[in-house]
């Protein structure tokens, strides 16, 4: 685990390189990135008058958003990493301030749907969206925790953006085809558990 002190000496380029890898290198990159600019949290508290918890959430979401963009190759490096992160962080703090200052105290329970749905045409999107809204998310989450550690890890890696080929490097599978077959088998197992929930 990187401490904030050692993380400040690691150049941005090295952190980005790690984030473009898989497995432990990528995880190291994520921790380095988080540690490097974690002082933003105090900025969130002092400059935006957020609670520690809100400031931490804003910063964590900033890092997760940046990790996603860097891992996909969307970060082009036209701005410094610090500036890039700070702009995301600033926007998240402002969003939190707006949310806290309105009277809408109910936490938004609408499930945020993955970008996948935007692959579909508008007509298909609305059919699927209605079905998604009727899904029991808590049950699905519980069943995901019950299908076994291997299956759970496989589905989580896939959701985290790892291709079947990259999963071969992280887990002990021989080929990408084996990963795909296993992953689909896990999905089927999950479906059975979910549909036949006692």
């Amino acid at each position: 685990m990187s401490s904030a002190k050692t993380s400040t000496t690691i150049p941005d380029e090295n952190i980005i390189q790690n984030l473009l890898q898989t497995g432990s290198a990528r995880r190291r990159g994520e921790e380095e990135l988080f540690s490097r600019y974690s002082y933003f949290i105090k900025e969130g508290i002092h400059k935006y008058s957020l609670t520690q918890e809100d400031a931490f959430d804003a910063y964590s979401d900033t890092i997760l958003s940046a990790i996603g963009k860097i891992a996909m190759g969307s970060f082009e490096g036209r701005a410094s990493l610090k500036t890039y992160l700070y702009q995301i962080f600033h926007n998240k703090c402002v969003d939190l301030i707006r949310k806290n200052s309105t009277n809408k105290n109910t936490v938004n329970k609408t499930q945020e749907v993955t970008d996948m749905i935007f692959h579909l045409s508008d007509a298909s999107k609305s059919i699927v969206q209605q079905l998604i809204d009727r899904a029991d998310w808590d049950l699905l989450k519980r069943k995901l925790n019950e299908i076994g550690q291997n299956c759970k890890e496989l589905l989580m890696l896939s959701a985290d953006g790892y291709s079947d080929k990259e999963i071969v490097e992280v887990m002990t599978y021989k080929t990408a085809d084996v990963v795909k077959t296993t992953r689909l088998r896990c999905l089927e197992k999950l479906r059975q558990l979910y549909k036949h929930n006692p």
Binding site: M1, G77, I127, L155
Partner: protein, 241 residues
């Protein structure tokens, strides 16, 4: 499992336009298939939520350790607090007798000497003359790098990196008027992240001529208000203006 594989292949982006149309047709006509698609997407999202939860828990652990390190140090140094108090009194007296607050030029110097010691190679665009100029700069040969950057700007008047680096090299060699010209031109370019206004303010602070500090303050306020590049460094500089 067959339908899940079919759905998986669709979302991997492997389908031709004709195959995509067939997929959408099946989705519209077959409720069971639509259900499978919804399940696939829902599972994906729930899995992603678990990933995010795991990463945030890891971040919490890292941050807790970071805060613990920060708190432990004062406890270990309690024995030195009385000595530190005596030193503090001497320092305060000396400050009033001998020291003045840093001038705006000194503030700008502090920033330049810590943040502009190197130009980032990753943004170099890999052009040979640019690489040479950056190497010269990064080896502390500011005066030698400046004419190379100058030529790059002549060859490519709207190259934002040439303008930025030429301006910084001019700043390091105390050619403030030239630096300001380069940064003004940089500001006028339409860029997603434009550091021109911030560096313009820095050059004004260094030049420190009549009216420069007021002008620098306006630039810094603009950088802060519009969220321009380096806006996170503005508060420290504004304090001195």
């Amino acid at each position: 499992m067959h339908s899940l594989e079919y759905i998986d292949d669709y979302f991997k982006g492997d389908f031709s336009p004709k195959e995509k149309m067939e997929f959408e047709k099946k989705l519209a006509e077959d409720p069971n298939f639509a259900d499978d698609v919804a399940f696939y997407i829902s599972t994906r999202q729930v899995s992603k939520d678990l990933v995010i939860e795991e990463k945030k828990n890891n971040f919490k652990r890292i941050y807790a350790d970071y805060n613990k390190e920060a708190k432990v140090i004062p406890m270990r140094r309690i024995w030195s607090y009385s000595a530190a108090a005596a030193v503090f009194v001497i320092v305060v007296i000396s400050w009033f007798l001998f020291m003045k607050p840093p001038t705006t030029a000194q503030l700008a110097d502090q920033y330049i000497s810590t943040k502009l010691t190197r130009l980032d190679l990753s943004m170099s665009g890999r052009q040979d003359s640019m690489q040479m100029a950056i190497d010269l700069y990064n080896h502390g040969k500011f005066a030698q790098s400046l004419p190379v950057f100058d030529q790059m700007v002549i060859n490519s008047p709207n190259n934002n990196k040439a303008l930025e680096f030429a301006g910084i090299a001019a700043l390091r060699t105390n050619n403030f008027d030239k630096a300001i010209q380069y940064f003004s031109r940089l500001e006028s370019l339409k860029l997603e992240y434009n550091p021109g206004a911030f560096y313009h303010a820095l050059a004004l602070m260094k030049r420190n001529g009549p009216g420069d500090n007021e002008e620098a303050k306006k630039y810094l306020q603009k950088v802060e208000k519009e969220g321009l590049e380096h806006n996170e460094d503005v508060p420290a500089l504004l304090k001195g203006l």
